[in-house]
């Protein structure tokens, strides 16, 4: 059983106990524990069930590579699934639950799958569920969905806050082990601005566990001294609990800082995403130990040799009293020696190498440990925990030579450099035969804008072996990074211990001739339950590309992204394909290195600052007066202003009736307003709009259409000429920024020699539409200036003072009534609004929203950009030839509109649609035509673009685009409804209300 050791545990505070719960069970740990070490100290070997077969699984590793030990962490709104216990720091009151089992961790119904595993090989789901086709959607998928997924989704209402931080440095060093420290020091001493980040809470990586000397001091002391030195340097920033998550183009990197995961409820943000722009990036990311593939290598108690060593030294936790070590390299002997020195039993070290180990092996033997060369594990005994191992010859097929009782197995299949960050942005790898691993190819780094490498690997991440080579490699990396930044490196690398180790020997399967029964229990990917036999099957079925085999078997596709399984898996694949490993290659390494929280990516964007909400100067009044808002771009505009129990529909009808009968106000502040000024402004306006704008006189307004260079209508609005050189362009609400950009694009890129300046002054003005027969009267109450029908004619504008506020008044009409738009400085907008409401009281004034505006314009047959247009409509489709100047040589879109398809008389054209029964046509409905098209679909001959109930006419009105529409007045079309049934509508003129414009012209 696993338990706490009294004397070791350099990272934990034995003097204090803290409480936590696992599946409701109250357990105790120490400050400094990870959740993993605390669980193991409480003999909680079984921590979860695997994804596919629901096999009992225990902790395998001690760091970010852990595939098995994922828990649901926290409760309620702080609940989070799939949290790795090995990287979760223990805190007082931590609660967690195990995953992927029912009804309980110890007794799991789904474990029946493991007995069916013979029938659930790789590709099982693909093969099984493809026929009959309709079954996927209705039978298989819902069933599989039930059993898929590891953790449960988190709950809404996360109370924590998150943030980003933008940081810039010359050299970013990722990894705070010996290599990272030395690289950072070398770069900093050369004068570079350095940031050093480390994913765990501790500096020094695994060197304090493995021992050795640097610069004449024990390595742990050297680490402390170097940290102190770096902390004293003003050009160095150190961050632990900050993982290098990804490396992107041109030295951009993400650092994922877990600021307050270990102190929940504190006032600090929980996670901080560092968005770092670095000149050079040094990846000192270390190496990960590989498991060995033998039968039963997933039984709880079988762990990486280095992890068992870590738990003993760092946390004072022993995994078992009797630990069998199985290895293909010398490093695992360190685990045996460490445990033996702590007084624990090592029944045997199984060294798969016929020739055995070097100096460390001798040391082990000297301690009285039995060492068996050329031997391996045939099979692990035990279910929910290890009870023993069956020993065999590595060279054979697994005939059992001896059975040895034990409660833990420490395995080591060699070490793989962590090349993820090197590879994220295109760094290539080479296969190192001697160490049987991929390491960065120094000739093919990720390249920056100038074609030069910007990532430098260091230490074990670069394939360096012993401490001496790690330190010197890291020193060189730090200096190279500084040099690339134009700094002058100085100093030599400190001396460090060397170790003479016997060469490792690749062991991809144990024993090498293992039969199918053993291979079916030899796990490669623990989390996704991929076995040696699955990869071999994939190869036999033709999945020769490593990327295909990955997807077919799901090898490396779990949340650990194959940190333990990838190399073993592709070695098995290579063997099955009878080709060398480099020819098989690796799958693609993609950021992030380990999963980062979605909240950290969202950063501050939650709650009231989830996204910007644009507010007009009158927004506060709208809110206080019950406005029913709708989003228009990032603006919130009142859709209508319901009163009391009134619904939306009633409110809209009331607002329209009031406007037509007397007086109502529209907050039109969101309309785009762009000043266009200069000697060439008229010329520019003429190419921008389809109609003639240069002839507009100061003091006058003109409605215009704007097309893009493909001829399609993109914006419309009223242009006012302010003076000889200056136009004020009104755009749609959504078009303000894009049309301004469109103007600048043409001015800067095409007509750079035209003397025109533009300025977007949309937000400078609050604009109020004053509409209705009493609109003139109410403004006259507030001004001494003359706005009579003679002084300010239709489509004219002038400057007046209203309620003491300087204003422009435009006599324009979108509602079809006598109406004005008043434009005042935004800071006075609310004052104007209030003054108009007060003055209009005698006329029953009320505000109206965007829906009333839409209905009233539709009653008048005015088009709306986004309703009558959708990016494929040209002005000619809308019968707006009157707004297309015949006198101009050119305008944007002219040439495009002459193309054959655009000039085709068969294009659908705008008409009014009047339902026979007075009902409202469904929005977007199509008019059917006889017959079917090539796809067997019903032919169509038109569609509805705008449709409303008109309270003015007491019936449904609509506009639509119809084939030869204007030539077919009076014809009746049929529009099928989504719920069945048909609405019949007659083609009519699109102007339903006041055809002669008498209302607006008074």
């Amino acid at each position: 059983m696993s338990t706490r050791l009294a004397k070791t545990g350099r990272l934990v505070d034995h003097s204090r106990a803290i409480e936590f719960t696992f599946n409701g069970k109250r357990l105790k740990g120490h400050p400094g524990d990870t959740l993993a070490s605390a669980l193991l100290a409480n003999d909680q070997m079984l921590v979860g069930r695997s994804f596919k077969y629901h096999r009992p699984r225990g902790i395998v590793a001690s760091g970010a590579e852990e595939p098995n030990a994922l828990v649901g962490l926290g409760e309620g709104t702080r609940f989070e699934p799939n949290q790795r216990v090995t990287t979760t720091e223990l805190f007082d009151g931590l609660t967690c639950i195990s995953q992927n089992h029912w009804p309980s961790l110890d007794f799991d119904i789904g474990a029946v799958n493991t007995h069916l595993s013979r029938f659930l090989p790789a590709g099982f789901y693909y093969k099984m569920f493809i026929h009959p086709r309709p079954f996927w959607k209705h039978v298989y998928e819902p069933f599989i969905r039930q059993s898929a997924g590891l953790g449960k989704a988190s709950n809404p209402g996360d109370p924590d806050r998150y943030e980003h931080f933008y940081y810039f440095c010359d050299v970013l060093v990722v990894g705070g082990g010996v290599a990272g420290l030395q690289a950072a020091l070398a770069a900093a001493e050369a004068g570079s601005k350095v940031m050093l980040i480390e994913q765990t809470a501790h500096w020094g990586g695994r060197s304090p566990v493995d021992g050795g000397e640097v610069d004449g001091q024990p390595v742990a002391e050297w680490v402390d001294a170097t940290i102190a030195k770096l902390q004293g340097m003003p050009n160095v920033t150190l961050r632990n609990r900050c993982m290098g998550a990804g490396v992107y183009d041109q030295g951009y990197a993400l650092g994922y800082e877990r600021v307050a995961d270990h102190t929940p409820g504190s006032d600090a943000p929980r996670h901080r995403l560092w968005r770092i722009r670095a000149g050079q990036i040094v990846t000192a990311t270390g190496a990960i130990e590989r498991p060995l593939s033998f039968a039963g290598n997933d039984v709880p108690g079988v762990m990486l040799a280095s992890a068992i060593r870590d738990y003993a030294v760092d946390f004072g936790v022993s995994i078992g009293d009797r630990t069998v070590v199985v290895t293909n390299n010398d490093d695992a002997y360190r685990t045996a020696i460490t445990l033996k020195q702590l007084g624990l039993e090592i029944p045997v070290i199984l060294d798969a190498r016929q020739s055995g180990g070097g100096a460390l092996a001798d040391e082990a033997r000297a301690l009285g440990i039995r060492v068996e060369n050329g031997k391996g594990i045939a099979k692990v005994k035990g279910g929910k925990r290890v009870t023993g191992v069956a020993i065999c010859a590595q060279a054979g097929e697994g005939a059992v030579l001896e059975e040895i009782a034990c409660d833990a197995v420490a395995m080591s299949g060699g070490w793989s450099p962590v090349v993820h960050l090197w590879s994220h942005c295109g760094g290539k790898l080479i296969w190192d035969e001697a160490s049987a691993h991929f390491r960065p190819d120094p000739d093919q780094p990720p390249k920056g804008a100038k074609g030069e490498g910007f990532v430098i690997p260091a230490g074990a991440a670069n394939g360096a072996g012993d401490l001496a080579s790690v330190v010197s490699d890291a020193h060189a990396a730090g200096q190279a990074a500084a040099k690339a930044m134009g700094h002058k490196p100085k100093g030599k690398a400190p001396k460090a211990s060397t170790s003479e180790e016997a060469p490792m020997q690749p062991v991809w399967l144990m024993p090498q001739g293992a039969g199918i029964k053993l291979r079916m229990k030899s796990w490669l990917d623990y989390q996704n339950d991929v076995k040696v036999s699955d990869v071999q099957l994939a190869a036999r079925e033709g999945y020769e590309s490593v990327e295909h085999a990955k997807r077919y078997t799901t090898l490396g596709m779990a949340t650990d992204q194959g940190k333990l399984s990838n190399i073993n898996g592709l070695a098995i694949l290579s063997d099955a394909l009878n080709q060398p490993i480099p020819q098989t290659g690796t799958t693609t390494f993609r950021p992030p290195y380990t999963p980062i929280s979605l909240s950290s990516i969202a950063g501050e964007a939650k709650g009231e600052i989830f996204q910007p909400i644009r507010k007009t100067p009158m927004h506060g009044w709208h809110e206080a007066n019950g406005a029913d808002f709708e989003p228009v771009g990032q603006w919130r505009r009142p859709y209508c202003f319901p009163k009391g129990e009134e619904g939306r529909h009633e409110a809209v009808n009331r607002e329209i009736k009031q406007t037509r009968a007397s007086l109502a106000l529209l907050d039109a502040s969101t309309l785009g307003k762009i000043i266009v000024k200069g000697p060439d402004a008229g010329r520019f306006m003429d190419v921008l709009y389809t109609n003639m704008m240069s002839t507009l006189k100061p003091g006058r307004c003109r409605y215009g259409l704007m097309c893009n260079e493909n001829g399609f209508l993109m914006d419309d609005g009223v242009v006012a000429r302010l003076d000889e050189e200056t136009f004020l362009v009104h755009t749609t609400t959504g078009g303000a920024e894009s049309i301004h950009g469109h103007m600048e694009d043409w001015l800067q890129c095409e007509w750079w020699d035209w003397k025109v300046y533009t300025a977007n002054v949309t937000e400078q003005y609050a604009q109020v539409g004053v509409a209705g027969p009493n609109s003139r009267k109410v403004i006259e109450k507030l001004t001494e200036d003359d706005i009579s029908a003679d002084a300010l004619t239709f489509m004219g504008w002038t400057e007046i003072t209203v309620a003491g506020i300087p204003a422009r008044v435009f006599r324009i009409s979108f509602a079809g009534e006598l109406s004005f738009e008043l434009s005042v400085p935004a800071s006075h907008g609310r004052a104007l609004w209030d003054a108009l409401l007060e003055a209009g009281e005698e006329y029953g004034v009320m505000p109206y929203g965007t829906e009333a505006m839409h209905v009233m314009r539709a009653e008048k047959g005015f088009i709306m950009i986004g309703d009558e247009t959708d990016g494929t409509v040209i002005p000619q489709d809308l019968n707006m030839d009157w707004a297309i100047s015949k006198k101009k040589d050119d305008y944007l879109g002219k040439r495009a509109q002459e193309r054959e398809h655009m000039a085709d008389p068969n294009r659908w054209k705008l008409v009014g649609l009047e339902t026979l029964e007075g009902e409202v046509l469904p929005d977007g409905a199509y008019a059917t035509a006889p017959g079917t098209n090539a796809n067997g679909q019903r032919n169509t001959q038109g569609r509805v673009t705008s449709t409303y109930h008109s309270p003015t006419l007491g019936r449904g009105i609509a506009m639509g685009l119809v084939h030869h529409g204007p030539d077919r007045m009076g014809e009746v079309l049929e529009f099928p409804k989504v719920d069945g049934g048909i609405v019949k509508a007659k083609i009519v003129d699109q102007v339903f209300y006041d055809k002669d414009g008498e209302k607006q012209n008074v």
Binding site: A268, A605, P612, P617
Partner: protein
């Protein structure tokens, strides 16, 4: 005439940094040939300041000139003096090709001050705000989370920050959230 009201109406927050509505401020967009002696003279005459270099701000007593683009400046002045300064600019530049527009009401103007000011802004804007890189008098047009923003730094270490008026609440709340106690990053100040 009614009293002009800023969108934040004097809002203030004290945390790691102090965020405050800087109040009504005159702002005038001037587009023209920034290298011409006429523009130089007009600006000097209007606010008593020179033409700033690229990404720089020049400030005087209640006035400032900000470099917005190769052909655009933003002039800051007392709110009440805008009309008079515009008239002076238009007079001085008569016959030149230029554009002058009053944008005083189109913006919200904030001060971010105190020891946490650099970190508060660096959580939202992709700008190197280290003391070595961003020095007083520097000006940036950039992005603040999801909206456009511009700011300069004065000798006292206060950021003078401009956003569009419609997003005043959003901008204030962003800065407030970034300056909440407990959120110190520990790299600046």
């Amino acid at each position: 005439m009614s009293e002009a009201i800023t969108p934040l109406n004097g809002a203030r927050f004290e945390g790691l940094a102090t965020i405050e509505d800087a109040g009504l401020t005159g702002m005038i967009t001037l587009r023209g040939d920034l290298s011409s002696k006429e523009v130089k003279a007009a600006v000097q005459n209007a606010v008593g300041l020179d033409i700033p270099a690229q990404r720089q701000a020049l400030s005087g007593q209640g006035t400032a000139v900000l470099w917005m683009s190769p052909d655009e400046l933003l002039l800051m002045c007392p709110y009440a003096e805008v009309a008079q300064i515009i008239a002076a600019l238009e007079g001085a530049l008569k016959g030149q090709h230029f554009l002058v527009a009053n944008v005083s009401d189109a913006r919200t103007f904030l001060h971010v001050s105190g020891p946490g000011a650099r970190e508060t802004v660096a959580k939202l804007c992709p700008v190197d705000l280290s003391e070595a890189a961003f020095t007083p008098g520097m000006f940036r047009r950039t992005r603040m989370a999801q909206v456009p923003a511009a700011f300069w730094l004065d000798e006292a270490g206060t950021f003078h920050l401009i956003c569009f008026r419609s997003v005043a609440d959003y901008a204030f709340n962003l800065l407030k959230t970034s300056a909440l106690p407990g959120g110190g990053v520990g790299v600046y100040g």
